[in-house]
Symmetry: C2
Subunit: 376 residues, 2 copies
């Protein structure tokens, strides 16, 4: 453990690998298992910082790729760092930019030292390397930085997966060597696709290099739930018990419950915020599409059991009207609801673990999800 | 006075026609002079009701034309009225739809009984009449309804202006006859273009019909400030002293001060909200354009003297970044600032009148505006 991060395990579930913990970071304390709302361009879309705090968000994610391109990390640095820039005084985790370089950059070419790509904004040419990713993340001043790794397209052959995983280990070493910020934690990322032995090899290499926490990358790429859960089963036992484990880019509420049961502590996903802006809203019985004509005169809230500001004040009919009229307020109220759904799920998970009933909670969630999908 | 509205004058300025008052309406109390934020589609764009309350908005405006077309007044009625639909429990004034019929409706033709037009949304054909406008506004359940009048294009000849003004008197009579909601106030609208005698004739006719309040329409159509102020000078003396006076669709901050000095009590304008979404922000020394490159690394708030949430937390550099990145949060934070600027100006005006120093306040505002425009 560095001085940038202190992780204390608290309760454990007797039936699963679920655990609660407290993560102390530069900007404050985070209770795990935790969901991190995604703030791509220096804002969690439509949400003012005070609203995120009201929802109980303890840590958010910032995107290195986007902030590097616009407004630029040196500008943010000169204005006092990302926290001050966006007026968020709780912890931030920044990704390495790797995923966006591969998925958003045009004409992207991978070489031994990094990735060349053209900006999706103006076509300008850039060369991302582990050292540059560290330089950007240190300038942003996040609480947790991520190593720069290679992101593979799915599906990939075993041999391609193996070579990429080995390259990510090299880049992890270079990331750690280039990182020099005492108050910023650094997480490794385990790759290896859907091959148990490659995951084990990557995890061992990451532990050998030594990080403040360990992420699992390369999942939620279209592989299906069973395969994702199997990779978690295969990988988590190779990660240290006393460090936080972060499953990147996942997922649906059921995925969070299943991953917590497999020992994961941290999550991020654009799903609640992105779905909000396309009218997909989470409820206790699955997702609804607020655009649907059957909500035209529906006086009920999105979810009558929900305690969020949106559900306490607005009907489905009103939210449908806002959506169809293209009113920004609709995106905002939907985002409040979806983030509340995710953050209150995580709070319920933490309570269940703390009170020794997560096994039952997990079984019930799996059963309910099964019912949902059978009746969808 | 009907049971729907009670207006009590409080303080008067010794040097101008400015006055403060208290307006009691179905949904609560409004302190005048007052600015009403505009909520076109059943939301003041980007603003949740609790945020409007935080800014001190005591009454907002709803657009009859837009709500009639989408989602429809009968739907809103069946859901308990516009207040409940949008979860706003303070007063609402609805316009008559007239202005939008003329400015937004396609293929608009005026006939003796009303206006035929095609919806700007789907091209469907509609026929607005005084009776229909009353029916819609009663269904919406606003605190204050407006008569349906004819809106002229600017410029118009004296004869066209006169005929239109006479037709608006006929429609005012029909509006009053069709209006039958005891807890909803009804305001007349004085027309007559830029002809003092036509304004006097219209005002006398409106008084003769008898309304809870009197609006001045047909201004801020491109005529220039001096002409607008002259029409106010010509018109206000013909309005009853003890009823609220409402200047429709005006204007810039300086216009509000000048109109208050001429005896106006109520205002609405899309300028603060619309400007916010195009990056124009009001300050104590005029408007700034947040898109401007000189704000790229500017750590100051929009207006260092401003107490709004946006200015207390965010830099010009951040707001410029949000705007350029197309982030919805930028529109929202800009809207908070601009509405705060307008609403706190009105509060300052009320204090100045109440403390017997509005004469000086008015002279200083006029001087400052003169300086701004000379140095712009």
């Amino acid at each position: 453990m560095s001085q940038a991060l202190e992780f204390t395990l608290q309760a454990r579930c007797g039936e699963t690998l679920a655990r609660t913990g407290v993560l102390h970071l530069k900007h404050g304390t985070v209770h795990t298992p935790v969901f991190m709302p995604v703030g791509t361009h220096g804002s969690v879309k439509t949400m003012a910082p005070r609203e995120l705090e009201e929802l109980g968000a303890e840590i958010i994610l910032g995107n290195t790729y986007h902030l590097y391109l616009r407004p630029g990390h040196t500008l943010i640095d000169s204005l006092g760092g990302l926290n001050r820039f966006m007026s968020w005084d709780r912890p931030i985790l920044t990704d390495s930019g790797g995923f966006q370089v591969f998925s958003l950059g045009d004409l992207c070419t991978v070489h031994e030292d990094g990735v060349r790509f053209a900006s999706h904004i103006d076509g300008s040419r850039h060369d991302f390397t582990p050292a540059l990713s560290m330089e950007i993340q240190m300038a942003l001043g996040s609480d947790i930085a991520m190593i720069f790794d290679e992101c593979l397209e799915y599906p990939a052959t075993r041999e391609v997966t193996r070579r990429s995983m080995e390259r990510s280990i090299t880049w992890a070493e270079r990331s750690k060597a280039a990182h020099g910020k005492a108050d910023q934690a650094l997480f490794g990322i385990v790759q290896g696709g859907f091959e148990a032995d490659l995951r084990a090899r990557s995890a061992a290499a990451m532990r050998h290099i030594g990080f403040d926490g360990y992420a699992i990358g390369g999942l939620s790429v279209g592989e299906g739930k069973d395969l994702m859960y199997r990779v978690l089963d295969d990988t988590v036992p190779h990660l240290p018990e006393d460090a936080p484990r972060y499953l990147m880019g996942v997922g649906l509420p059921i995925d969070l419950v299943e991953a917590v049961a497999r020992g994961i502590d941290m999550f991020d996903c654009v799903m609640p915020t992105r779905h909000a802006r396309t009218g997909y809203l989470f409820t206790g019985w699955g997702r609804i599409n607020i655009k649907n004509a059957r909500f035209r005169d529906d006086a009920d809230p999105i979810d009558p059991a929900c305690a969020c500001y949106t559900c306490q004040n607005f009907s489905r009919a009103y939210l449908r009207h806002l959506f169809i009229s293209g009113e920004i307020l609709g995106h905002h109220l939907n985002t409040i609801h979806n983030l509340h759904h995710y953050l209150s799920l995580m709070a319920a998970i933490r309570r269940a673990i703390g009170e020794g009933r997560f096994g039952a909670f997990h079984r019930e969630a799996a059963h309910q999800y099964h019912e949902e999908t059978c009746h969808a």
